[in-house]
Symmetry: C2
Amino acid sequence: MCVLGLGLIGGSLLRDLTAAGIPAFGWNRSPETVTAASDEGYDVSGDLPATLARAEREDALVVLGVPVPALPDMLAAVARHAPSCGITDVTSVKGEVLRLVGRYGLSGRFVGGHPMAGTADSGWDATTEGLFRDAVWVVTTDGAAGEDATGYTAGESTGESAGGPAPADVEPWLRVWRRVIDMAVAVGAAVIPARARKHDKAVARVSHLTHVLAEALAVTADQGGALSLSLAASSFRDATRVAGTEPGLVRAMCENNRDALVTALDETIELLNGARRDLADPDHDISGLVEAGHDARLRYEARAGRSGSGQANRPFILLRPGTPGWLDQLHYAESIGAQIGLLEV
Amino acid sequence: MCVLGLGLIGGSLLRDLTAAGIPAFGWNRSPETVTAASDEGYDVSGDLPATLARAEREDALVVLGVPVPALPDMLAAVARHAPSCGITDVTSVKGEVLRLVGRYGLSGRFVGGHPMAGTADSGWDATTEGLFRDAVWVVTTDGAAGEDATGYTAGESTGESAGGPAPADVEPWLRVWRRVIDMAVAVGAAVIPARARKHDKAVARVSHLTHVLAEALAVTADQGGALSLSLAASSFRDATRVAGTEPGLVRAMCENNRDALVTALDETIELLNGARRDLADPDHDISGLVEAGHDARLRYEARAGRSGSGQANRPFILLRPGTPGWLDQLHYAESIGAQIGLLEV
């Protein structure tokens, strides 16, 4: 494994892979990080062309551990110095990344990844072993049916995918896909498959929307002045926690997933307008929203486990990639948000 | 102290007062709770008239530990059976309660209270010692200047209050006020003074709005289906936690504080509409909302302490009730959300 970028995600991944005995080396732009990681015994370098040439030589999977704005430079370097390696990434939007990857002609050997782990901190100093244990790691499936991996914009293909090209045609892509999944499993993550567009729509609702609402709630409370802040209790603290996230990170997520976030935001605004109308009319009540919200939270708890910890109750499906009917299984897994495991063919 | 209603708040209060060696007895409607509390050695009864007659005899402070819908019956009973006792309550809205209190002619001996503690559970079984330690306990100040305690609707009186009636006129009310504060301090709470209207506006922003947004977020995520729920991580879990609150409790809070909540909700909807417009326009970004939200969260953290625990950094003001200038100090404390302590006159 070759990890490019040793921030919180990339660095923690390098730690976990090394700890698991999986050969892994890394690269980082900052000399300080290279020194710090080397001093801890990790196999890292500040020379990108040399690192990629080594990846090509050793047939390593290249993990792009950099944020979206840094991806174009990385993809150009990979195209040039590692012309046949499999590639994956760790960013929180997938459609935008697939488009970039397509622009560099790398779609046939790219599988998107989104490890849903993290803390408020960043950089090598924040890295830690075990960051991914029991975390969800989304792995994209665009390309599984042999379509161009940039099929993100081609609409949903649940029906026709099963009748796509013969499995043999997608074997190079499938090999990368298996390696990405094996890597995620090796560090203790729960792999959930999704096409990029479905992933982006889902995280718009549960993650990016959560950020936008937290910002708006924090601002509205602050507009109430000092007494409001003094009366803020644990419900407010928890609901605005992610408003403490570094603004650049929040913008990168939301602004790279505009369409899906607008759709989710429109639904939320409609719900809030309805509640506002009901509150302004003494003959109305807000039971509609409150009951629906309570039901939705209970469904979430049933899936996540009440603690929201690793004790998740989501379904688990075992797949044999490339065998007849497996694409139907894959789409079914996506539709029910199932974790998957791979069987040898 | 006489605690009417031994649910989570009332029951925990009875435990704490008893543990602190403060004479306290209670009443509850349900015989099961009376038996359970008696079995644990608490001085409780299921006979409301007898309990109130005892409160009158012993000059106890009557604590209304029942939710808003049960208050009219309780107030009628207090008016009849305890004609001179001081009275306080523990509900999360204060204006509606002051109006009810006025209707029963009890304003001159009523001081509103709102202990901001609680868990998702309710009833005697959920009661616990120490529930109020380091919690905020809002104590209303309507009446401090001698105005009718139902002055909630009379507008803000910061300026003219200082020139109100002579302190002697408000002495009976002040005596109740001191007792409520002493009780809150005895169980470890941090007392913050506020007029009912200011309290209701503040909690609309930090508490009731938090509930409404949590409901809307949970519904929007749920509308994304199973994949969305599977990808929901800790940010979503924390932001929707209060959507798990029993719907009747959420409605009671929000629907008893309609005006203030509509104002807060309008501000939030305006912020969200702005973000929606910016997201829909590729030439725009959402830095405005994200930067403002981040700043607001930092101001909240600075006040609450990052942990949001008892390590609060809010200002603390010592008052001598009834002495010259003390009303100005009281309003100043409200305006900066300060905790207060009382000095002997």
